[in-house]
Amino acid sequence: MRVRLRFFAALRERLGPGGVRTLPAGASVDTLWHALVAERPELARLRVRFAVNEAYVEPSHRLAEDDEVAVFPPVSGGGRR
């Protein structure tokens, strides 16, 4: 199956804006991330979050044909109050 990838912020700078990627049917977000890390081992050190079709998902989320998968760093705030 094919999914559409989008990267943001520091991930976009390293990997580009994204593109189409082919995965085995029924692959999870985690499968996808491991494939990306296998190609770019330095990614393993990054903390990332995932969204599918503009909604946050866990890495175990199963992907479907033509899903839009966004991979990005934790959002910018999160710091002191």
């Binding site: 912020a9 700078e13 903390r47 969204a51 909604a55 760093p73 910018s76 705030g77 999160g78």
Partner: protein, 145 residues
């Protein structure tokens, strides 16, 4: 009014967006770009958003706040692109019949917004630039509370 903008946040527009004859108070929060962060002298900030998802998440936050407190109206605006030091990068306005609800909701909205709305900040400082939240080996980002 829930939106992203590349131009300065107009406080009067925020106020207009939440004005309501049934409101007894309006609370406004402006998050402004600070000139020093973790010892670095910041010269400007740059915000990147996953725009469609960011607006969706902001709408969901406004709905959640209205479920949680008795509010009249809610406005959320976040800037994207380059923002100079000392100006607002995020603006929140909440009107409610009573001030306690407006203060509580506004506080909750900014805390939630900063942990879940997909907008990232890159700090430009003297001698470099860095994506906030991505520093490898730095302390982990704090979790939403």
């Amino acid at each position: 009014m829930i939106r992203l903008t590349r131009t300065p946040i107009a406080v009067d527009a925020l106020l207009r967006a939440v004005r309501d004859p049934a409101a007894g108070g309006i609370v406004v929060f402006l998050g402004t770009t600070r000139n020093v962060n973790e010892g670095r002298h910041v010269v400007r900030l740059e915000y990147e958003a996953f725009a469609r998802m960011a607006v969706k998440e902001m709408r969901a936050l406004a709905i959640a706040a209205r479920r949680r407190w008795a509010l009249r109206r809610v406005a959320l605006v976040h800037r994207t692109g380059v923002v100079p030091v000392g100006v607002a990068s995020v603006g929140i306005a909440v009107s409610a019949a009573h001030r306690a609800e407006a203060f509580a909701a506004c506080r909750w909205l900014i805390d939630r917004l900063k942990t879940i709305v997909p907008i990232w900040k890159r700090e430009h400082f003297r001698g470099g630039r860095v994506w906030i939240g991505m520093q490898q080996g730095a302390r982990p980002a704090r979790r939403a509370r």
